[in-house]
Symmetry: C2
Subunit: 286 residues, 2 copies
Amino acid sequence: MTRAPLVFSLENWATPRREQLLPRLRAPVLDAVPEAFSEACVYPLVSGGKRVRPLLTIAAAEAVAGSVNEATWAAAVAVEYIHTYSLVHDDLPAMDDDDLRRGRPTVHRAFTEGTAILVGDALLTAAFEVLARIANPALAIQMVRELTDAAGHRGMIAGQALDIGMGSPISDLSSLQDVHRRKTGALIRCAIRMGAISVGASESQLVSLTTFGEAVGLAFQLADDILDADEDAGEEGPPSYVRMLGIDETRRRAEQELDWALASLANLDDASALRSLAQFIVLRDH
Amino acid sequence: MTRAPLVFSLENWATPRREQLLPRLRAPVLDAVPEAFSEACVYPLVSGGKRVRPLLTIAAAEAVAGSVNEATWAAAVAVEYIHTYSLVHDDLPAMDDDDLRRGRPTVHRAFTEGTAILVGDALLTAAFEVLARIANPALAIQMVRELTDAAGHRGMIAGQALDIGMGSPISDLSSLQDVHRRKTGALIRCAIRMGAISVGASESQLVSLTTFGEAVGLAFQLADDILDADEDAGEEGPPSYVRMLGIDETRRRAEQELDWALASLANLDDASALRSLAQFIVLRDH
């Protein structure tokens, strides 16, 4: 593994961390009852996603402390559980009605709709179980607070509720940004903050990393909209940055957020992985 | 209902506590976004259930300490949130497909199926948010551990998974009891334990109240099966104690569990409310 000032390879950094993460994602739900339900809980966790959120958690801890600890791993697992449960529920027929996810049948297609509801509920609950096992109670409860704020009825779930049309129509840039800040931004921000908190970040480090997380979250959505625009250029569709701003201005803003994110890392010792992850998020696939 | 040495009225005891509970159930989700989603979250919380679980939490705290504190209320709210979310998800078309709950349209009928999925997710997450606000971190994290054990993939959700047929067929008494111990027993036991823990119960008090909780949980399900048997006597149907044991033996066992529950309260100062709740649970409506 090479480190800056030499060439930093994100894949060389991420691969061993993804390998260490996988058994930690499986272990907490292996004792689910009955065995067939345990298999259903494991199914969406091992589908080979990019693991952007837990990698951000790990990278944030390393940027602060140069290494990770058991609390970092617990946070990484919890944040991936929340992300995964939200996909399982979001794919249901009553929501987005998706048959495939990462090239495999979605949970309700591979099993049943009832099973998919329960798998989502189980992963959501297990996220807090994993955090509650952190040995230091004050740290554990701080993590639970961070995660409920990000994932709950003012955060990710609020974003989903806005997305299925429970709020006012999304007619301007500020309301679009509000949906995304809640739906995807809050959990990305939380992933980074929990990583920093797990290794005892100072207040100023936490402020920097929160700024980084907010910029990355916004850049993530701008980049997503650019990818979608490439797929269905010109068609009518749901509100997006590209439809509101045009593709060039959306690209300009994504790069601006990336610059802003990278600038916020100035007072951290070794932020190579965070920098690479931010670039990967904005520049992936195009 | 008369109790030595003075008359104890369960309704006189329960009514003011239900009144104090109601605003505490509403408050945490009033800031859900958007406002229509907040209304959907409040809807299943104010439908006038009997509040058996939070009343058990309060009664357990009073039996130990003679009074309750903010941690007791947090536990009472959290346990009612878990119970309520489980009903909201259980009523969905992919699960029990119920149109009515306590005489009102279920959440997916009053709103949409997508909304009901999100309301359940929000209440589940909010249960942990409420516990995480308990001022003492060690106490808060102990509560989170109790609740994830009871509500998670080895507890309530495992019971649901068994109930929708993910395990072996429920062909004997011990497998039926295992389903119920997880599906309803675990949360009742947890409600009582959290009440006791909130006021610093001693280890021996906690052991007594755990025994009480397990007996009440089993008695609850025996009584439920007796009620159901009165409704559809002789019909074919899902496995139940009445179908396996006959009505007389089921009645005998419900009373035996009640005796066992009441006997376990011997070393507690004032267990009048717990005693009355146990009797109410077993003897309700017949």
